[in-house]
Symmetry: C2
Subunit: 401 residues, 2 copies
């Protein structure tokens, strides 16, 4: 369902990799129908296109459906109806999984079919399946990732080439890495959906994007980037979820300072990287292209193959619904902070307010790394500084990653 | 079978992570017997130890066996007998898989049981399963990895701290990262076994370690390391296999120059990293702890869980036997080279012999990066240089990774 960028890639791989897929599966995967409202007269399988969803839902020979339309409507209704009709569904649609994953997984369980979404996070990077299977013997303490290629490309251009945010965004748009309306990327919503999916998978209860505090990168300046570098950090947009000692989770999407020594610090340009911290494995990092036609399509096809292998036996991939009660208030989340200040006697006043700090002097401003505190505490300390005549130019979390 | 470092870790995880494993599987995994010749009176499950393999093979309640003894004897016989008795087997034993993988996979197929070995490569890093499943829709062009933590630790100490090979080896031994007899690590045999397993998996025919040219790191000097850095590279021990246009494979284990911009260049200390180059995904990199009790044990447990989920339906994990006829002669393998030379007029003579080169001058020596050539050609060019009175101090391949 859907013959756009990803959908046409899925069809292409199924046709060009037929032999390899046959070798791995022992059966041929046949594309019975392709749903799209547009016409594709030049497609080698032009005869299989349909504009009518009913032709798919009513075709009992169709056992597996790939939803690669994107968006919530009509994808949500179509997927639900397919699952209820006893068809397995795979999707690359992170918006759908983040908004309705728990419900769709429950329907799949009831109908004894599979609902898979490897492509919804990290594009071609295997992450859903490794987290679900290989790391089954780990208690996951934290998952943190660079989950959006557009913002990572923009930040990389700011860090490596000294471009301003506006220029880097324009370049990303010119190169096709950013949409003409880039809001979902640069305001962090896309990364948020992905960390919601990973958090739901890691901790077994659905986390809805509405429950997650999300900051984008629109307010990150070259001064932030340069001062961070002076401290030994790069700024990355990070989706992160941590399990706390009381069993609750601390989840956020926000720009963070990532230390040079972190494996996530040198994941550049449009690439994605995801760190999973297991109690047995320690840190495991997955790296690759987080988007694009063929990387994403190859993840969809891997799910299709897995569905074909498990037409009778369901794969165990499940989480329960969630009401947000297992998520702490984002203002209670604790981290060290990077702050840029300006004003007279900034060092002394910052020490008075923050306690022990590390500082770097810049042009007419001071860079500060603080100790750990809740964001609530940080806000009140910033007010205290402002009261002392110090202007807080920016405050960015330091990632423990 | 085996209650050493990894085996005791497997028992520990099965006991301490019981609840999480139950949630993922829906059934309890019960340790029926532990085979070890030693006594473990203080173990919480001391009553389940046995010194007699027959007690395991004859116990029809035992459906899954974990072989974590290491070595070929008696592991090979025990695993074969378990598979033939209809038990699924998981192993962390790379020596066993590299030497007998094809035969054991064939027996598993015949008996309709599973033979799994996620822990045999990359310790706690998920790699076998992602390669086998998630990347099923890719033609794999190349796999290259830092597959041995001991040598990576030694090289890191040479690169970052300027330690000599001998001092770094001693430190590795003192810290427990290297065995008292370190030959299997520093001469590259351990890394070779692992790239053999990955090559067999990627290309469907068993590659035996005897067919793979293997160089260790014992001849790498601080001069090599420093000169490589001057060119923008680090030296890493790399296991690498490439598919060539004629369908044959080019496989080698050797130290290589890895460019700073490569994701493999900043995988340091005892960590491992594996790059898989798919035609659809592009480069995907997996990073983590490649050894150690709990990381390795957690991979064994993940396989045990997968076996328990598939007691009736076999997982598709298979390759055919191989006779080496699909492997090119290592001297025909083509790469650019890094060379250190000394002697009069070295630049002019090197240009005459190698053609276009990049050079860096050092103390009484010249560093050279050449264009691509076969190793055979490289050897004859080195002879030509020696004939001109130039001494070749070292020659190391440049990795296209």
């Amino acid at each position: 369902m859907g013959h756009g960028v990803v959908g046409s890639g899925v069809a292409e791989i199924l046709l060009t990799h037929k032999q390899k897929l046959f070798a791995g599966l022992g059966e041929e995967i046949y594309i019975k129908k392709i749903l799209d409202l547009r016409e594709f007269p030049d497609s080698p399988i032009a005869d299989r296109f349909t504009k009518d969803f009913e032709e798919i839902i009513n075709d009992r020979e169709i056992r597996v459906v790939a939803e690669v339309m994107g968006g919530l409507r009509p994808a949500y209704d179509f997927v639900k109806r397919c699952l209820k009709a006893g068809k397995s569904v795979v999707t690359s649609n992170k918006e759908l999984v983040a908004a309705h994953g728990a419900e769709l997984l429950a329907i799949a369980k009831e109908e004894n079919v599979n609902f898979m979404f490897e492509a919804s996070v990290g594009g071609g990077i295997p992450i859903i399946r490794p987290m679900n299977q290989c790391l089954v013997a780990n208690k996951v303490g934290e998952v943190a990732g660079i989950l959006n290629g557009t913002t990572n490309f923009i930040l990389t251009k700011m860090i490596q080439d000294g471009m301003t945010f506006a220029d880097a965004l324009k370049l990303a748009q010119d190169l096709g890495f950013a949409e003409r309306n880039p809001a979902a990327d640069i305001e962090g919503h896309d990364a948020c959906r992905k960390i919601c999916i990973l958090a739901s998978l890691a901790y077994g209860r659905h986390v809805y994007p509405e429950s997650v505090h999300t900051e984008g990168i629109t307010s990150i300046t070259l001064e932030d980037v340069n001062m961070a570098e002076a401290f030994g950090y790069v700024i990355k947009l990070i989706g992160r979820v941590k399990k706390l000692d009381d069993g609750k989770i601390d989840i956020i999407t926000a720009p963070m300072l990532v230390p040079f020594k972190s494996q996530l610090s040198n994941i550049d340009n449009e690439f994605n990287g995801i760190m999973v911290r297991g109690d047995c494995t320690g840190d495991v990092v997955f790296y690759g292209k987080g988007a694009g036609k063929l990387p994403t399509a190859s993840a969809v096809v891997a799910d299709i193959v897995d569905c074909c292998k498990h037409l009778k036996a369901r794969r165990f991939l499940f989480w329960a619904d969630g009401d947000g009660s297992n998520i702490i208030d984002w203002r209670d989340s604790v981290s060290a902070m990077f702050v840029r200040l300006t004003g007279d006697d900034a060092v002394a006043k910052a020490e008075k307010v923050f306690g022990e700090i590390t500082t770097v002097s810049g042009d007419n401003e001071l860079g500060v790394l603080t100790g750990e505190m809740s964001y609530r505490e940080f806000e009140s300390k910033c007010q205290a500084l402002e009261a002392e005549g110090i202007q807080v130019l920016s405050g960015i979390r330091i990632g423990d990653i």
